[in-house]
């Protein structure tokens, strides 16, 4: 690149080959690009000492907005959220047990008693692409994190997302509000007994999730007209692990009529914090059977 006679010519010779290789690689099928993730994790790890202080500065300049008013209220809200989560999970579990009492053996297979091993981890950055923003988290396979590990925020049992890839020391979490995240099924909670309305939510791209309101769940029939802003929406999706069910997706921000489907309602749900701006989270690891034994 600079002085010398050999090196510049070598660099000049290598350039067309490198460009040709790049052109070839960019059109390779996804199945042939598995090695990219390894190099990507390495790059993320290498720039972590620069990105983490930058993120701290960014968080200080523009902190993630939260609904908590002060420390006491936040502590009470945290405790209330934990109790609500425990209550809903217990009710959900009891309901399942009632329904499946006659099929105990099958129940054990379908819904085993899973232990959760929470691991607090800091978010050290985000992916550089502006429209595909996964969180880079300082915890990896060395710490027992695997793909599909559920990530939450400790404070209010808020679901963050799932791990998409885990390298040795870091992992990537795709927030549920990321525009590329898949659709998620939720339940708009009307009371502590678990009565509610199903909803199928899709990330809107502005930090909210938007989707159709579905049928009523629970013994008490509920009409979509009864939905009000502020109601809690919890995860009720069979594609997620059992231990993640009933985690908080967010709160109803608005309810509108579906212009295409007459009387159907469209609900907009906003998580309690901006999920792509959090600085730490908790990964719910599932101990492997070998560890239990």
């Amino acid at each position: 690149m600079s002085a010398g006679t050999q090196k510049p010519s070598a660099a000049r010779r290598a350039l067309p080959l490198t460009i040709a290789a790049t052109v070839v690689v960019v059109f390779l099928p996804p199945g042939w690009l598995g090695w990219v993730g390894w190099f990507g994790d390495l790059a993320a790890l290498a720039i972590a000492p620069a990105s983490q202080p930058a993120k701290m500065v960014g968080d200080w300049l523009d902190p993630a907005r939260s609904r908590a008013v002060d420390a006491d209220a936040e502590a009470l809200a945290e405790r209330l959220s934990q109790l609500e989560l425990l209550l809903h999970q217990a009710q959900e579990r009891a309901g399942d047990l009632e329904r499946r009492l006659a099929e105990v053996e099958e129940w054990r297979l379908l819904y085993p008693d899973v232990d959760i091993d929470p691991l607090g981890a800091s978010v050290i950055g985000a992916t550089s692409d502006p429209t595909d923003r996964e969180l880079i988290v300082r915890a990896g396979s060395k710490h027992g994190v695997t793909p599909n590990t559920v990530a939450v925020i400790r404070r209010d049992a808020q679901l963050v997302g799932r791990v998409t890839r885990a390298s040795t020391l870091t992992c990537r979490v795709r927030p549920i509000t990321d525009p590329t995240a898949p659709r998620i099924e939720g339940r708009i909670m009307f009371d502590a007994e678990g009565n509610g309305l199903r909803c199928s939510l899709k990330p809107a791209g502005d930090g909210t999730l938007v989707g159709d309101v579905g049928e009523s769940v629970g013994p008490r029939p509920i009409e979509p007209d009864q939905i009000e802003a502020g109601m809690t929406v919890r995860l009720d999706d069979n594609t997620w692990p059992a231990h993640a069910q009933m985690l908080v997706i967010g709160h109803v921000e608005s309810v509108t009529d579906d212009p295409d489907k007459g009387l159907r309602k469209i609900v907009t749900v906003r998580p309690s914090v901006e999920l792509d701006r959090i600085s730490e989270l908790v990964l719910w690891r599932v101990p492997s059977p070998e560890e239990d034994g």
């Binding site: 790049t22 059109f27 990219v36 993320a44 620069a50 990105s51």
Partner: protein, 180 residues
């Protein structure tokens, strides 16, 4: 070009890109500036064509690796094209004027946006549509981000231009020399 200084600058720029970018995001949180792009434009403005091409290629590959998409190439090719554009244009520009870096950052952002969206859309059409991929919307967001990059480019120009001597770039040769 001082390679060690380039490596440090690339490292810092990538760290800022992944760490600070969300704090700069506006609108619905998707429109954000690039902090690597002004660095690439700066390198392409002052380095020899060969060093500028390699430098931009390396920055593009690093962006691909940290983009979260399991593919190398969209940013690498885009930054290559950016380098060639700046190399062609720099002869008729006042390189040490911060406004030049701003304008070329915006232009570069537009080039990068078009190439990246074109490549990713092609891949989406050939290998299947990833969830949430809408080429038109992606391009719109990225083009607005390119304009935003121009603003950041001005601030970065104030930092980068005084460092020009440290990089050991070749002396600027004026195309229109005074007749003796």
């Amino acid at each position: 070009m001082n390679r060690i200084l380039f490596a440090v600058l690339a490292w810092v720029a990538l760290g800022l890109e992944t760490g600070l970018r969300p704090a700069f995001a506006v609108g619905d949180g998707r429109i954000s500036p690039s902090l690597v792009l002004p660095v690439a434009v700066y390198i392409a403005l002052f380095a020899t064509p060969l060093a500028a091409t390699w430098g931009c290629l390396i920055l593009g590959v690093l962006l691909d690796l940290t983009s979260g998409r399991a593919v190398v190439g969209p940013y690498a090719l885009a930054y290559l094209l950016l380098a060639q554009t700046v190399i062609q244009a720099r002869g008729v520009m006042m390189r040490r004027n911060p406004i030049v870096l701003v304008l070329l950052s915006v232009l570069g952002g537009i080039i990068v946006s078009i190439v990246v969206v074109a490549v990713l859309t092609f891949r989406a059409l050939v290998y299947g549509q990833p969830a949430g991929w809408h080429g038109g919307a992606e391009l719109g967001v990225r083009l607005l981000g390119a304009l935003y990059t121009g603003l950041v480019g001005f601030v970065m120009a104030l930092v980068l231009l005084p460092m020009t001597e440290l990089f050991g770039f070749p002396q600027e040769v004026r195309r229109f020399a005074r007749r003796s």
